[in-house]
Symmetry: D2
Subunit: 280 residues, 4 copies
């Protein structure tokens, strides 16, 4: 078990009456238990917390008048991810995939797996099924793409990234997700906090469905998956924007942190491929 303290401080200058939707609160499940949590809005405004079922993403909705706005979130979380020997994790045969998991084979806005069937098959079609095939997809993504902040934007898709060969964490995740889906492996996007991410920021990574559960992967190798604290899960980044703005507001501040408080288990290295980690 690891205890991790996460949080963020987000500031805006609001120019007209605006409704915000924040997706910054940590998910609560058996692998990720909240010890303490606080959300402060300055100046104070009434807010509403609502959850997207069945994924459990927690949204904070807030309508404010013009003026400055700051949102402070902090949480202490006990992580109890499930680990498995990667060599023993196989792929779930298509005939046995649960109906709700089948959805994660469908192409989505930023992960156009339907256009990449031959691409994926050419690259990964001869590999043995299993955890190692998703690892191969991550390695390929890591090796082929340059991590280049500023090289992509909010409407950039996996196919765009495969052309320009560069991107940031969300792009790496979209590429790997697309390739997994194209190979018949259900895959979905996860947004979260990440210990040891440098510079600190929100992080985007992904999960692939293998052997009857969802395993965490990160093609960027920027931080250890054991230090990921889940905020939200979705088909791709479109489903887990940390902030959605209806109105007119400009960001003035963004600080994000994630620190390991105490640890019984040492975090595995980023890029570790022998231990499979599951937290969903």
């Amino acid at each position: 078990m690891n205890q991790i303290q996460v949080g963020c401080r987000i500031g805006y200058q609001v120019n007209s009456p605006t409704t915000f939707l924040f997706n910054i609160s940590v998910t609560q499940n058996e692998h990720q238990q909240t010890v303490s949590e606080s959300l402060e809005v300055e100046p104070f405004h009434q807010f509403e917390e609502c959850a997207v079922s069945p994924l459990g993403n927690r949204l904070v909705r807030l309508s404010v008048p013009p003026g400055p706005l700051t949102v402070n979130y902090r949480a202490t979380v006990n992580m109890n991810a499930q680990q498995a020997d990667a060599t023993e994790v196989g792929e779930t045969p298509y005939e046995q995939l649960p109906a709700d998991v089948l959805t994660y084979l469908n192409p989505s806005r930023y992960a156009e797996s339907d256009k990449l069937l031959r691409f994926a098959m050419d690259q990964f079609g001869t590999l043995l099924p299993g955890y190692s095939r998703v690892t191969a997809i991550c390695n390929w993504t890591f090796n082929e793409l340059a991590y280049l902040p500023g090289s992509t934007g909010p409407t950039t898709t996996a196919c765009d990234v495969l052309e320009q060969k560069s991107g940031v964490c969300r792009d790496f995740a979209h590429v790997a997700i697309s390739l997994c889906r194209a190979m018949g492996i259900p895959a979905r996007y996860v947004a979260g906090y990440a210990v040891n991410l440098n510079p600190p920021d929100f992080h985007g990574f992904f999960e692939a469905y293998l052997d009857g559960r969802w395993f965490l992967f990160d093609a960027t190798r920027l931080a250890p998956v054991g230090g990921f604290v889940r905020i939200g899960t979705g088909r791709d980044a479109a489903d887990v924007a940390f902030s959605t703005i209806r109105g007119d507001a400009e960001g003035t501040q963004l600080e994000v942190w994630a620190n390991e408080q105490e640890s019984n288990d040492q975090l595995l290295d980023p890029g570790n491929v022998s231990t499979a980690v599951s937290s969903a």
Copy 2:
């Protein structure tokens, strides 16, 4: 109440061991009650029925060896759609949208609303909110696009269609869905059977979330919405393909039908805009 008999007969030549996923069975809810239903597979193979929660799409999964395959589905359904005076149906304010409905504001694979914000605002931004604004989006879509079978394919998106100005039912739905989402109106894709569709085929249309529930719309004006029998619901056509094939099989036959058996209520004309219809 209208009683509608629907069905389809789908044939394949299967060339290698193949798993099929059929999404052809009618949805069951309070507005759409199944009187009788049958699914026959020739030659007989064991199949599994599974449902995608929470939408209730019913999937039939079937693994078969090489050889011919025919699937026969027929159902008799009592439709009891809810009607409302369109002039009294307003938009649900963003602050009050249920969390699970917020998802249908997100862009999806074939409905890239994130790229069309200014486009939608230029066209529909000055209109009064409400049912009539979605009607305006449907009218615009109907007037701007040519219905041209063969002009689009399985990877065609709303933006593609807006460039080429032509498409089929799924494309009309994707364009209207994208424009609704860009205007802040949740919208989703519906696949179904449709009475009086000519030539008979599966149909694609959409729902917009207004005044606390989902209302049916069809920008093609090809058939009356009161005669739509829902098969499945999703973000866009990616979620409700009537047939998904893992393996090697070629289609040899496709027949689809939808006939009104008896009717207490006359079907409204396609393109009717005064009565709002809801069946979700």
Copy 3:
């Protein structure tokens, strides 16, 4: 006749041996005669001037070692554009277009007219042929697009712009060029200096081939076409980049100017549609 003084001052920090290609010198033809001209490179390096036939674009090629680099160009030009009564300028029938002009009906990198045939026909197909139809295309472009610096980049195409409904001068030109070509009217991109452009910068506009010659148009209405001094002509902006860099250099300075020195003819208003102007 108008006398116009134009020029630019471009600075770079060169980080490795780099070859520059500058397309900043004014074109010389019967409508545009150079009274005086100078090009200074600081620190001095040998450069080569070469011209792209048959268009007459003049390129300056320069290879430099690491260090700062400044290029100063200034020219005084007598403009003697040909004017015509716009109402008397018709379209040249397709059967009579010169072979070399036919090339400007072909789609190009940033002007994908081949995708917009139906789009253009729907919008402009019922209009009478002639200068007024190109004017209608310019008006439509001006009305539909927002002029929004920073909203597009170097790989943005006309179709991208039609989706996002915003762009800068080169994007307005690409949209209008695409629509002209789709209507069967040869059109090409022109880069130049422009009197009264605010803020001063290089400008991009276009020419359409009507009645046997090329007429100037500018869908942005930012500056009078009579004050345009041609630098280069091409299929689209890909052909007339003011600076092309092979190596590693960062821009440090860009100043551009165009001032009317003396004038016998008053410049027509931007957006004037009664007098057709030709300078090619």
Copy 4:
């Protein structure tokens, strides 16, 4: 010297007054000399031959009333391509490229080299410059893409093909051209007849500018480059469509042939990489 007889027979049903532009006549230059040539139009209509300078593409323009139309073209050509030892063909340094050749570094409609700079550099950046680098680009294109008739259409671009990993001859050429340009090697599209092409059809291949002249390449390996008879040259397939139709006509027949009549020189194998061939 090889003597090659080429020709085509193209039939249409013309539904309304239509103007055709045919680009089917062979180019005439020092490497390709026309021994005899005929063009028959049935029923007879006056036609005009015009040439695009400076490339020398020959266009036949023809306006016809409704009814059937057949065009018969045949030519006997003496091919006298220039050969060179591939190992001695280097790249022309950027500083020495002629101004008119620089144009072929620009991206074009179907060859978006501007989007593939990093892609090309990752793949080919460490290779030694010269003929062998273009060969490497051809080999990569051949190995990565599946030749799959029907998988692409008239608006398909190099980037589309790199995603879907399949195409036909024009797509192979567009990919290779894009990669060459992205590496700083001028490249252009060539349409022609091709001996030993099976099934017979018009063919699309490309030229790269090396060591001061244009060398022929074909990434499909479908036919020997020595048996290519040039019809036209352009930036990409947009410039050399064999038939352009303004009006309403449907193709009813297309036959194309290219036969070696007599030969002093044996045609080199497709995929030969030791002898460089130049015919421009």
